[in-house]
């Protein structure tokens, strides 16, 4: 009874806030069908581009980069932590399924980005070890290590919620997000082992495969 009441309160609180403040809708990407050669974006970023975040990250190869260095390519991005033995392999497997199902242009261009929640444990070296373990091509797959504030920030724009529930263990939303070449969120897959077709369809469209 008490639990039910609590749930009711929560829904009320959540729904009120949601009603008061509809989620700003991302403009759907322009139809790509008529575009022969995909346009390489330039100039000012769209207002909802996550590439406006100014944070600096270290890759598994110890390169210092900003998120806008991915500009120009479609990006499949997730947040994860390496010491999670269950969700981590599954989410990488889901990303590999996307890579495999993508059309030829998409497969060539798409970048796969994994941002860790756990900068203490998932050092660049540890991330490099993960890349090797999962046999990922470092030209396409980038692991990112950043400070806690930067991680919190990027999680907030990807709508990933997470909490460190004990030392090195994180409770988090499993979300695979497709960013268009300007860093605007396009399609998401929520949860693990979900159908990938809608995301792959968007990806192919962005890359000029369909």
């Amino acid at each position: 009874m008490r639990t039910k009441l609590l749930i009711a309160i929560t829904f009320l609180a959540g729904c009120q806030a949601n009603e008061a403040k509809p989620i700003p809708v991302t403009q759907p990407p322009a139809e790509a069908k008529t575009i022969v050669a995909p346009v390489i974006p330039s100039g000012e970023l769209p207002e909802l581009s996550i590439y406006q975040l100014d944070s600096t990250w270290t890759t598994q190869d110890k390169a210092e980069i900003k998120l806008d260095s991915f500009r120009g390519a479609p990006v499949v991005i997730v947040m994860f932590f390496g010491s999670c033995r269950t969700a981590c392999p599954t989410i990488i497997a889901d990303m590999k399924r996307i890579e495999k199902a993508a059309g030829p242009k998409a497969a060539e261009k798409t970048k796969f980005v994994l941002i860790t929640f756990d900068p203490k444990v998932d050092t660049p070296d540890a991330l490099k070890a993960l890349e090797k373990k999962f046999e990922l091509d470092s030209k396409k797959w980038t692991f990112l290590h950043g400070d806690e504030g930067s991680i919190r920030e990027v999680a907030s724009v990807l709508n990933v919620q997470y909490r460190e529930v004990s030392e090195g263990q994180f409770s988090h939303t499993n979300l695979i997000t497709l960013l268009d070449p300007n860093g605007v969120v396009t399609t998401k897959i929520e949860g693990l082992k979900q159908p990938i077709e809608p995301l792959v369809a968007s990806l192919n469209k962005i890359a000029g495969d369909s």
């Binding site: 008490r2 609590l6 700003p24 969700a87 999680a155 409770s171 939303t173 929520e190």
Partner: protein, 255 residues
């Protein structure tokens, strides 16, 4: 020194306000958080400092003037939605609402403000730790009357009007207005999922939203606390709400 100048600048406010320090030091301790960790009941909160009052429109205007990219109309949609500072008479005026808590600010804007003061947003643990106090006790959450008072505030329908700061007496720590005026941003507002973790793959809705959270709360009597967690979990970092403000926290510099 700077603080006193600001306070002198706000001479029309009450005597009690002028006498209150700009920020207070919080002596950290272990506490039992609303959501206990997986392997521990207690969470350590380190010593820190916190603003005595929520940030006012006047202070936020000074920040905006110094940082024009945070002006209403100039901010990009990723960082603040369309109602950002919409209650201000103009993008560069807060006439008549100087001493009200600033609201209609996004998480990004609140963060940028605190950063400019050499501070940061408080963590959820820090905010929850200090908000357990009433005027005399570090932790009053076991007291039904205290919980009822907080709930009464949370159940007030938002009329749009917000009073000036310094409406409530200082709590044990010397902090005012943690309850009664506005909700406040915390740094990790987007951590409020959820008992279901990465290992669970059951009902997505239940694991992602409210129900899952209810089942893991440590003390189901703390409805008020629960409402804060529910509220936070409904936010996005670009949201700007008419009843959501913030105050800053500061690390203690080692001497």
């Amino acid at each position: 020194m700077r603080y006193w100048l600001i306070i002198i600048g706000l001479t029309l406010n009450s005597v009690a306000f002028a006498a209150a320090p700009e920020r207070v030091r919080i002596k950290g301790d272990s506490y039992a958080p609303f959501y206990p960790g997986a392997d521990k009941e207690e969470q350590l909160v380190e010593d820190f400092e916190m603003d005595t009052f929520p940030v006012t429109n006047a202070k936020f205007l000074a920040f905006v003037n110094a940082n024009p990219k945070w002006q209403r109309g100039a901010v990009k949609a990723l960082f603040a939605d369309a109602s950002y500072l919409e209650n201000w008479p103009s993008p560069s005026s807060v006439v008549g609402i100087e001493n009200q808590p600033v609201t209609h600010v996004s998480w990004f804007a609140a963060r940028a403000f605190c950063d400019a003061q050499g501070g940061r947003l408080p963590t959820e643990h820090e905010w929850e730790f200090v908000s357990r106090a009433d005027e005399t006790r570090v932790n009053a959450t076991g007291d039904l009357a205290f919980n009822q008072k907080v709930l009464t505030f949370y159940s007030k329908p938002g009329s749009g009007h917000i009073d000036n700061i310094n409406q409530t007496p200082a709590n044990y720590w010397g902090l005012h207005d943690l309850y009664g005026l506005v909700w406040e941003w915390v740094e990790d507002f987007n951590s409020s999922i959820i008992s279901s973790d990465n290992r669970q793959s059951g009902d997505k809705q239940e694991s992602k939203f409210c129900g899952g959270a209810a089942l893991s709360a440590a003390n189901t009597r703390e409805y008020a606390t629960f409402m804060r967690f529910a509220f936070r979990s409904s936010l996005k970092s670009s949201y700007t709400l008419h009843n959501l403000g913030f105050r800053c926290a500061y690390d203690i510099k080692s001497e």
